[in-house]
Amino acid sequence: MYRFLRLPILLVGLFMAVSCYAVNDSQPTLTTEDDLGPQVAQPIEFPHYRHAGNRNTVDPTNSDPTKGGMEINCQYCHTYARRSLTAGIPPLQKCIGCHQNIPSVRDKPRIVELFKYWDAKKAVPWKKVHDLPDFVRFTHERHIKRFIEQQGRPVQEVCGYCHGQVKEMVTARRQKPITMGWCVSCHMKEHVVAAKADIPEGGTPIGKQAYWYTFQKPAETKNAAGELTAKGPNDCWLCHK
C-alpha cells in the first residue's frame, strides 16, 4: 500500500547520496604512484636510469650498465628548465659532446643510432611525455627558482614532484596525474617559505617571501617547526593566458 512511495524514496535517496558524495568528496583523488601514463615509444630508448640513477655502491665505476647510474643532475641536460617556461630537450650537440669521448659505448645500438642522427644533422624526434593542454603555460623556471635555488632542495626531489621517479625509468613515463586540480592541490598546501637571511639591503618585501600577494601573506602562518609557511598563488592568469 506504500508502493507509490517507492519511486519518490528512491529518487530522494539517490539525490541525498549524490549530495553526500559532493560534500564529502569534493577534492578528487589526486596523487597516486601507480597512476602511470602510457608508455611512449621514443626514437631512441634513452636510459634515464643510466644517466640520472644512483651510483652503484658496490661497483663505483658503474661498469655494468644494467646496474647503477651516473647521478647526473637533471639540469645538466635539461638546462633550459631554469631559464624558460619549457624544460626542453638538449640539442643533439650536447649528447655528442659527451659521447664522442666515451668510446666504450660507441658501438652500442642506441649510441650508433644517436650518431646516425648527428651525421645526418637531424634532430631526434623525441615524443612529448608530459604534454599539457595548449592553453596551459606552466613555468619550469619559477618552480626551479623557488624550490631548488631559494630553498636548496635536492634537484631530483623537486623535479620528482611532478615527473616522478625518472631516475629509475628507461624512457620517461608520466607518473602524476598533472590535472588542474592536482596542480591546485599543491598550491593550496602550506609550503615552507625560505626566507633567505642574506637579502641585501633595499631588497623588496617580495624578496623575503615566496608569495606575491599580501592577501595571501605568509608572514603570520607558522608550522609546528616554527617555520614560515605560505600557499602558492591562486591566479588563473598565471597558467592560462
Partner: protein, 457 residues
C-alpha cells in the same frame, strides 16, 4: 451559464477524456506534422550554428545577445500561467480551474524545457556548458556564484523539476483511471508504471492531498523567484534600460500575462482538437479572459512605472535609450509592443467578445506577439544604444538562422505539448468529477434550503 454541466456522468467523464487519447480530430496530425517540421528546421539551424560559430546568428560585438535571450524570457514567462492556474487558484479554491489546469501545468513544464534549450543555444561553447554546473571536478573550480546567470540556471532547474513533480503528482489518480480502463498494450504498461500503485484508498487520498498542497505551496514562491531572477539578469547589470529596480515585478506580471494569453490560445485549440467542448466551457474561458485583462492592466501599469522612473531619475543615458526605443530603428516594434500589450487587451473588456472564439483566438495570439516583442525590446535596444556612443549599433537584424531556431522552438514546444495531450489525460478527470460533485452538492444544498424555507412557512 454554468462552468460545467452538473448532470454529466462520471463514467462519461472517464470515457470522454480517455477518448481524447485515442482519436482526436484529424487536425491533430496536421498540427503534429507542422510541429515536427518546425522543430527540424530549428535543429538544422542549430547544427549549422554549432558547427560554424555564433556569428551565423548575425550577432555582433557590442550586440551580443539577441532573439535567443528574448525568446528565452518569453518561454520562461509562458511557464508562469501553469503555476498560476494550478497552484495559486488551487489554494484560492477557484473551482473553475479544474478542467484546464492540467494542460496549463503541462505548458509550464514544456515551456521551461524550451527556455532551457535557449540557454544552451545561446552559449558560444555549448559543449562546455557543464562548467556552469556546480559539481566536484578534477579542475577544482566552481562556477561563479555571484553571477545572476548561474542563479538563473539553478532557479530554472529547480522550477523545472518541481513543475515536473507537480504535474506528475497531480496526474497520479488519473493515470490510475487510465490504467484501469485499458486492457493491454504499451499504454497500459506505461500507466501502470506511472500510477505508482494508486488504488484510491482513503489513506492514499489523504497523503495525496497533503503532497499536492505542499508542492503547490512550494511552487508559488519558486515561480515568482524564477522570473525575478531572470529579471535580475538584467536588473543587476548596470546597462541603461536594464538597471531598473521594478524589473522583477514587471517581469513576473509580464510572465503571468503571456502565460494567460497562451492558455487562451491553447484552450481554444485543445477544446477543438480533442473535442473537450463539454469540459472546457465558454464560461471558464470567460473567466480566464477576465483574469487576463486584469493582468494586462497590471502589466501596463508596471510599464508606466518603468518609464516614469526613467523619466524622473536624472539618468540621461536611460532617458536617451527610452527615447531611442520610441523613435529609433526599433520604434515600429516598440509601438507594436505597446499596441499589442496595452491596447489590444481592451477587446477582452467587451462582453460580446469574451466568449467569441475567433476573436479570442486572434487576440490571444496578438497578446503573445506583444509579449514576445516586449522581451525583444528589453534585450536589443540596450545593446544598440548603451553607454558608449562609439559602439552604438545599426539596428541589428537577426539572421535567418536566429529566426530559424526561434521558429524551431515553437515547433519543439508544440511537439512536446501535442504528444503529451495524446499520451496523458489533458483534462483532470478526478478534479472534474470533484467539480461536478461540488456543483451538484451546491444544488442539493439549495434544494434543501428551499424546502426548508418552504417548510418554515
Amino acid at each position: 451559464m454554468k462552468d460545467i454541466r452538473e448532470d454529466i456522468a462520471w463514467a462519461k467523464i472517464n470515457q470522454d477524456v480517455m477518448k481524447s487519447l485515442e482519436n482526436p480530430r484529424k487536425i491533430y496530425w496536421v498540427i503534429l506534422f507542422f510541429a515536427v517540421l518546425m522543430f527540424a528546421v530549428g535543429i538544422g539551424c542549430e547544427v549549422y550554428q554549432y558547427q560554424v560559430g555564433m556569428g551565423v546568428a548575425n550577432l555582433d560585438n557590442p550586440h551580443v545577445w539577441g532573439l535567443y535571450i528574448a525568446t528565452f524570457i518569453f518561454w520562461i514567462g509562458m511557464s508562469h500561467s501553469g503555476t498560476l492556474l494550478s497552484a495559486i487558484l488551487h489554494l484560492m479554491h477557484a473551482d473553475w480551474r479544474k478542467p484546464i489546469y492540467r494542460f496549463a501545468e503541462a505548458m509550464t513544464t514544456f515551456s521551461l524545457m524550451t527556455a532551457g534549450l535557449f540557454v544552451m543555444v545561446h552559449l558560444g561553447r555549448l559543449w562546455q556548458f557543464y562548467y556552469a554546473v556546480p559539481y566536484p571536478n578534477e579542475r577544482w573550480v566552481w562556477p561563479n556564484f555571484q553571477s545572476p546567470l548561474l542563479w538563473d540556471a539553478m532557479a530554472i532547474f529547480t522550477y523545472l523539476s518541481s513543475s515536473v513533480l507537480f504535474l506528475f503528482v497531480g496526474m497520479i489518480p488519473d493515470l490510475a483511471i487510465a490504467r484501469d480502463n485499458l486492457q493491454s498494450g504499451w499504454r497500459k504498461k506505461l500507466y501502470t508504471l506511472l500510477a505508482l500503485g494508486w488504488e484510491g484508498t482513503d489513506r492514499q487520498w489523504r497523503n495525496f492531498r497533503v503532497t499536492y498542497l505542499t508542492i503547490a505551496c512550494f511552487l508559488i514562491p519558486l515561480a515568482v523567484s524564477v522570473h525575478s531572477i531572470v529579471a535580475s539578469d538584467f536588473g543587476m547589470s548596470q546597462q541603461p534600460g536594464w538597471h531598473v529596480t521594478s524589473f522583477p515585478p514587471y517581469f513576473v506580471a509580464g510572465a503571468l500575462y503571456s502565460g494567460c494569453a497562451a492558455i487562451i490560445t491553447l484552450f481554444i485549440i485543445l477544446r477543438y482538437v480533442f473535442k473537450f467542448e463539454e469540459y472546457m466551457t465558454l464560461p471558464i474561458l470567460k473567466k480566464i479572459v477576465r483574469l487576463t485583462f486584469a493582468i494586462a492592466m497590471v502589466w501596463t501599469y508596471l510599464n508606466c512605472v518603468e518609464f516614469a522612473s526613467v523619466w524622473y531619475s536624472h539618468d540621461g543615458v536611460s532617458k536617451d535609450l527610452l527615447i531611442q526605443k520610441m523613435t529609433g530603428p526599433y520604434a515600429p516594434f516598440w509601438w507594436a509592443m505597446i499596441f499589442c500589450g496595452s491596447v489590444v487587451p481592451f477587446v477582452f473588456a467587451i462582453k460580446r467578445f469574451q466568449t467569441h472564439i475567433p476573436v479570442l483566438f486572434a487576440t490571444s495570439l496578438l497578446l503573445n506577439l506583444g509579449m514576445w516583442l516586449e522581451r525583444w525590446m528589453i534585450v536589443a535596444p540596450t545593446f544598440s544604444h548603451g553607454y558608449y556612443p562609439w559602439t552604438w549599433d545599426h539596428d541589428q537584424w537577426p539572421s535567418m538562422i536566429q529566426w530559424g531556431i526561434v521558429f524551431g522552438s515553437f515547433g519543439w514546444f508544440t511537439l512536446l505539448f501535442m504528444v503529451f495531450c495524446k499520451v496523458f489525460p489533458s483534462v483532470s478527470m478526478y478534479e472534474v468529477k470533484e467539480m461536478v460533485y461540488h456543483r451538484t452538492l451546491h444544488l442539493k444544498k439549495n434544494e434543501i434550503g428551499e424546502t426548508a424555507e418552504q417548510g418554515a412557512h
